[in-house]
Symmetry: C2
Subunit: 481 residues, 2 copies
């Protein structure tokens, strides 16, 4: 540590006389950040615990609260300046018993189905639903068929994600809407249930779940998802017997809203403790899987940035803060609570610690605090490619001027674009926002399914994400935005 | 097809009057190439067959000849202009029975070992070898111990790959030498066998094999590899009992050299049939695995470029040729045979079809043929990052001027560097060489081990590699180098 301090002092002195030295110094520090991330697999070890010991953890559920306690414990053990919980009230939807389903057809045969209720869907009732199926590719086909042909049937929206797109998020974006709003559209024409083809680029046997919404003006009907392979098979069976029936049963329960928490840990800045660089991922995940890539990865990586700062003995000038967000998947109540609190602080001119604060090491609250940047990691623990930047053109240019420092670690993408759902509430407060962009080819193979488990995460890819965000935090802390 | 031709004619006409149109036209064509690669999973389907139906296929083995036949069949079914085999004489080393091993120690306990003979190693003999173990980290330690302490023992070289390096090929490069030359060094000091820590960045239970060499001046001793986890355990056991013995047994056989083949398929150029753009991977692989990433991926991708050209109706100006190389892992006899034949053609001023040519669709041999570029894919079927270019500065700059066309598909790396072992023989003939660079974080998890199996390959990542090379071939064909 002493050697590091001496090194820092020497570097600071030298940089006054030689600007090229500063670039060299940054380059050395970024190489240390990546080396530290690659040689200390704390992100990976924490992810293993979160995924395999706690597992699925949708907001409101007991396991999500267990995950909150675990996050707090991990942060407390890091000897940070502050660790506290921030309250938020979350929806508590429970899947209930494992869903069942079957195809009933004399011509096409009887076949088991393996559906997954979409998040927020009402239950089918104990008896389940048995009805004929109408397959459509989109809302136009639904409209053409009209109430007469749809009333009393189960609508099957079978729209594949476009495999031709390089950007799998674009492919997902092209179909996720059917999952979210398909039940409303189907119910409008009299359907008694909606089943959709999983919103994924994969061809697999996993139903991929995710949030769905109802509308106040339209009757609520159960909404379930089938795997892409099962959707292909059902489509084939419908060709051989358009009159076939299916049976589906789900038993989800909507509990009263319950209290949950964001978990926050920080290292106070030495020069500008009132200026915060925040970074986070979301702790909640769909309970059919372990939430390894979505978004256990983001949680453990952002926590690990704090460890990395301690490990390298870097004392940040600004306060650096890991935010473990709650409830991204359902209603983003954690992100909203965080943005509201930030707004209050901004308006009031000071940062109030949350009332639940029980930080062992907390110092006095910081007057006049504001966010100077926020980073979200919510695209899986894959090889990082760079950052999507939601900021002014000038700020984007400044970040792009750091590109050469990041390129040796495969970070080439520094483009204007969205950041992440959890930090998006800070946008209206003028905070520059960043989203960690990672290799997106495999993300939707796992997304929202049982397949999103710890064994699908590569240790080096995950740790590189920690390094990438650590390096960005270092540059923002050093040069501002 | 007619529409495509009309489109091509219109594009050609427009480009005469508007250079910006040319850029747009290239951009459209490259987007089609990637879309075609992503929507026609032929690389993936072929890889599945090669890996799961043929499997391990070290040069000289019966299964390597089965793979040659299969490659020829695949190429013949593509209705190419020429398909032919090119003879080469290869070493035929056979692993024999599965290797066994155990630790024998009263203090540290008896433990099973799971070694893998290094490629080319002599056998331990039927009785195996039982001896004390000397652990060293490098040759310096070996030298310090000297003949007195080493004679009659088994040397265990336990040098971990550096996890801190972003570039796993650099980490591998730092340790692979112990595998290749460790037996010679150990035997020089009187060791009776050498075992090494697998040359990989992974922490796993798979021994990773690979070629090793003997020297004429030093006694040949058996050389085997232990997995990284087993190496860690053995090191621990040696700490608790430095006097422990181990037993190792391998039964490899060196057969007489045998005849094998490169498999070549091509589409003749419409304007310069005598100018060849070659691309290839190597068919042989270590027989402990299925050779999925090393290098089934490169084989199926390069074959698939020809299919892609047919599928899109692109008629190349130059001859484009897929070369399925034999014997990269042992002695690169396929690559050498290919370069020699190319040299002869170059010297003689014409391209002679191989005497084994029995191409159904072959045309007349092409007078004055020469290679204008060669591309090798031998870094696994992962997300492509770009190309390593072994060419003149001017040629590198020209390729870099195409970067903006490739960047939308994640290809950002176009740097001067090595290409691939199989095509390297063309270098002295002045041919610009390219190596497909792919995400290297996971490569050595699989490399040369049982873990290199088809299920470790992601369909989109693999197909993108096909697209990347298809796009480069298109640009070289259009603009030359």
């Amino acid at each position: 540590m002493k050697k590091l301090l001496l090194f820092s002092i020497l570097c600071s002195l030298s940089s006054i006389f030689n600007p090229a030295f500063t670039q060299k110094q940054d380059s050395i520090m970024i190489s240390r950040i990546f080396a530290d991330a690659l040689t200390h697999p704390d992100s990976y070890k924490n992810l293993e615990y979160l995924c395999t010991k706690i597992g699925g953890r949708l907001a409101g559920t007991p396991s999500s609260l267990e995950a909150v306690k675990w996050s707090e414990k991990v942060l407390r053990e890091m000897n940070l300046d502050t660790v506290f919980l921030q309250e938020c009230k979350v929806r508590y939807w429970e899947r209930g018993e494992k869903e069942t389903g079957k195809v009933i057809s004399l011509k096409a045969g009887n076949h088991k189905l393996n559906p997954s209720a979409l998040g927020g869907s009402i239950s089918t009732g104990e008896k389940g639903i048995t009805a004929k199926v109408i397959e459509v590719k989109d809302y136009d086909e639904l409209k053409k068929l009209g109430k007469e042909k749809i009333t009393g049937k189960i609508v099957f929206i079978n729209h594949p994600a476009d495999p031709a797109l390089f950007n799998t998020f674009a492919a997902y974006g092209g179909v996720a809407g059917y999952r979210v709003r398909g039940a409303v559209q189907a119910a409008y024409y009299g359907a008694i249930a909606m089943i959709d083809r999983s919103a994924t680029t994969a061809h697999d046997e996993y139903p991929h779940t995710g949030i769905m919404h109802y509308a106040d003006t339209v009757k609520k009907i159960p909404a379930l998802s089938l795997s892409t392979n099962e959707s292909d098979r059902l489509s084939q069976w419908l060709k051989s017997d358009p009159e076939l029936s299916i049976f589906i049963k789900s038993s989800s329960i909507e509990h009263p809203a319950s209290v949950s928490y964001n978990v926050i840990g920080e290292i106070r800045g030495t020069e500008h403790p009132e200026e915060i660089i925040a970074f986070g991922g979301h702790l909640d995940c769909w309970e059919t899987g372990q939430g390894a890539h979505d978004d256990g990865a983001g949680v453990v990586q952002t926590i690990d940035i704090l460890r990395l700062y301690r490990s390298l003995g870097i004392r940040p000038k600004h306060t650096i803060r890991a935010v473990v967000f709650m409830d991204e998947e359902m209603e983003q109540k954690g992100g909203k609570a965080y943005a509201e609190a930030a707004k209050k602080m901004l308006d009031a001119g000071y940062w109030m610690l949350d009332k639940n604060d029980s930080a062992v090491n907390s110092r006095q609250s910081t007057v006049g605090s504001r966010h100077i940047a926020a980073i979200e990691a919510d695209r899986g623990g894959f090889t990082p490619w760079g950052f999507s930047i939601d900021a002014t053109d000038e700020q984007v240019k400044k970040v792009q001027s750091w590109k050469n420092l990041m390129l040796p670690y495969g970070l080439y993408m520094f483009e204007k674009g969205g950041s992440g759902v959890d930090i998006n509430g800070l946008k209206s407060q003028g905070v520059p926002l960043f989203g960690l962009v990672t290799d997106w080819q495999r993300y939707f193979d796992y997304h929202h399914s049982t397949n999103d488990s710890f064994d699908k995460v590569n240790i080096r890819e995950l740790q590189l994400g920690t390094g990438a965000m650590g390096a960005l935090v270092y540059l923002i802390d050093t040069y501002g935005l």
